[in-house]
């Protein structure tokens, strides 16, 4: 009598290995592809938001608004001298007028803009620590003593709406990942139920021969794992290829928000967890679905 070893799985050939014949691997491939893109977007935005935020929090700009060029130059030099002596200031670089004109050229056209419009003189500040209102007031007071037409702005204030939008996009990407995970789980549940229906006669026989629910569920888990592994690897490779292509295109951009430093191939490293999690999720959902269905049988 053979009835002692109850935990071994029955022969894996009990169910015909029809993997890749159904839609599940392909659906999972699409899900993983989209998840990889969404996760990469979330990680990129997070990286860009963090690095840009940190950088901008230590930068400020002094504008000397005096309309008279001679007064403006004098106040700019005086302000620069006063600023470099402040302990909160690491660097205070006067922006050459030509650079200011170059910045405005896209809006005002080429040529000598300064002759037509009184452009402010600028001083770029690099701060010793992240700026706050008290620091800004203290620097402002020191500058106004020597340059009454000066105005100081923290760079972070300009880009705050952009950073907030980027954070919203991050949440959106996270929500998308969650929805894709739910859709993947639902796909597996449907596939498991379908497989259960297709093999109900075999399952009934195994049950009546003394097969346990766990033994039967393991058969389905294995099959789902194979399908999910194929789909996950395919989806991941497709997503990774697209990301590498995108990163090459973005590397050519010179925007402070998205560039090669915020979007690098190293970003793919944490994304490697997506196919692994997908396979584990598929196995878990298959197991729960099959066990739930089997419990309804005697």
């Amino acid at each position: 009598m053979f009835r002692g070893r109850t935990q071994s799985a029955p022969n894996r050939q009990l169910m015909p290995e029809g993997r890749l014949s159904g839609p599940m691997p392909w659906v999972i491939a699409i899900m993983v592809f989209l998840t990889v893109l969404a996760a990469a977007a979330a990680l990129t935005l997070s990286s860009a938001t963090t690095s840009t935020g940190e950088q901008l929090s230590r930068e400020a700009t002094v504008q000397i608004l005096a309309p008279d060029p001679a007064v403006r130059d004098r106040e700019q030099r005086a302000a620069q001298r006063a600023l470099v002596q402040l302990p909160q200031i690491v660097r205070a670089d006067a922006v050459p007028p030509a650079d200011v004109e170059a910045l405005l050229a896209p809006w005002f056209g080429g040529g000598s803009i300064a002759e037509d419009i009184p452009l402010p003189a600028l001083i770029d500040l690099t701060l010793a620590r992240p700026v706050d209102d008290m620091m800004l007031a203290s620097i402002s007071a020191a500058v106004l003593d020597v340059a009454p037409s000066a105005r100081i702005d923290a760079d972070s204030a300009w880009l705050e709406p952009v950073l907030q939008a980027m954070q919203s996009l991050q949440w959106l990407a996270a929500a998308l990942i969650l929805l894709l995970a739910i859709a993947t789980a639902a796909t597996v549940v449907l596939a498991a139920r379908s497989a259960l229906g297709s093999h109900s006669a075999t399952i009934a026989i195994v049950h009546l021969l003394g097969g346990t629910d766990l033994q039967i569920s393991r058969l389905f888990q294995r099959r789902m794992a194979l399908d999910a592994t194929f789909g996950s690897v395919l989806g991941f490779l497709a997503g990774a290829a697209m990301l590498v292509g995108l990163s090459r295109q973005l590397a050519a951009l010179e925007t402070p928000l998205l560039n090669a430093s915020t979007f690098s191939p190293w970003l793919l490293a944490p994304l490697l967890g997506i196919p692994v999690i997908t396979v584990l999720l598929a196995m878990l959902m298959a197991r729960l679905t099959i066990l739930g269905a089997l419990r309804k049988m005697l």
Binding site: R5, N11, A204, L208, L298
Partner: protein, 234 residues
């Protein structure tokens, strides 16, 4: 070994398929369960091989209450019961070898230990040459023998067969009964459901239960020796 006390079975809200069934099966005995089609033979066997729980009454199996037994314990008990289904229920994509090996695999017997017992079974049923054949390519009689081999390979304490001779010619029917009788001599309790009254006389010492519209026709003396025991192969 098996004890039914006032067992009743009802499917859904319909009338009782089985009513007030009471009997005891003893170890090493041979029983025929007879009755016309629809009398409830298959339903009674389902209760016996734990495919169904009764609506009422008590069923004791191997000394334990099978009615209130937790579901998780049923597989262990099912492994002690071999079943030959009326429609064979062979797994269509498995070979004869794999179908016969199925109960051993379910029981967790290592692959290396399967070949010996399975080949022995194939030899016993005369299908060694058809080991790699799938059920669809086997004749009805061959499928029947594979089903029997699958039922007995785990050396069950009880063998339950539902109309095992219903789809085979008379000669093969007698040969199948020989197989059951041989197994019975090894100590297995055998219960064969059949509506073929002529078969009953083929097994000397076999006892008979007769079902009539869901009831044992003679509850007080349901188990009795058949009228004319014959010698097998005569």
């Amino acid at each position: 070994m098996v004890e039914f006390q006032n067992v009743g079975l009802r499917y859904g809200t319909g009338a009782e398929t089985l009513s007030d069934i009471s009997f005891t099966l003893f170890p090493g005995s041979f029983y025929f369960l007879t009755g016309t089609s629809g009398a409830g033979k298959t339903s009674l066997l389902k209760l016996l091989y734990l495919a169904q729980r009764p609506s009422r009454g008590v069923i004791k199996l191997f000394g334990e209450d099978a009615v209130t037994m937790p579901r998780r314990r049923l597989p262990g008990f099912r492994r002690r019961i071999g079943v030959v289904f009326q429609d064979f229920r062979l797994v269509p994509h498995l070979t004869a070898f794999d179908n016969i090996a199925l109960p051993l695999r379910v029981a967790g017997v290592p692959e290396g230990d399967l070949a010996g017992p399975v080949k022995e079974m194939l030899d016993w049923i005369g299908l060694t040459e058809r080991a790699t054949a799938r059920p669809a390519t086997l004749s009805g009689g061959e499928q029947q023998r594979v089903a029997i081999a699958r039922a007995v390979i785990g050396r069950p304490e009880i063998l339950v067969a539902d109309e095992p001779t219903g789809n085979v010619d008379p000669d093969l029917a007698v040969r199948l009964l020989k197989l059951f009788s041989a197994l019975n001599k090894l100590g297995t309790t055998v219960v064969v459901a059949t509506h073929d009254i002529h078969l009953i006389g083929k097994i000397g010492g076999a006892q008979m239960m007769q079902l009539d519209r869901g009831r044992l026709s003679d509850p007080t003396g349901a188990l009795r020796y058949p009228p004319k025991p014959l010698v097998l192969g005569a």
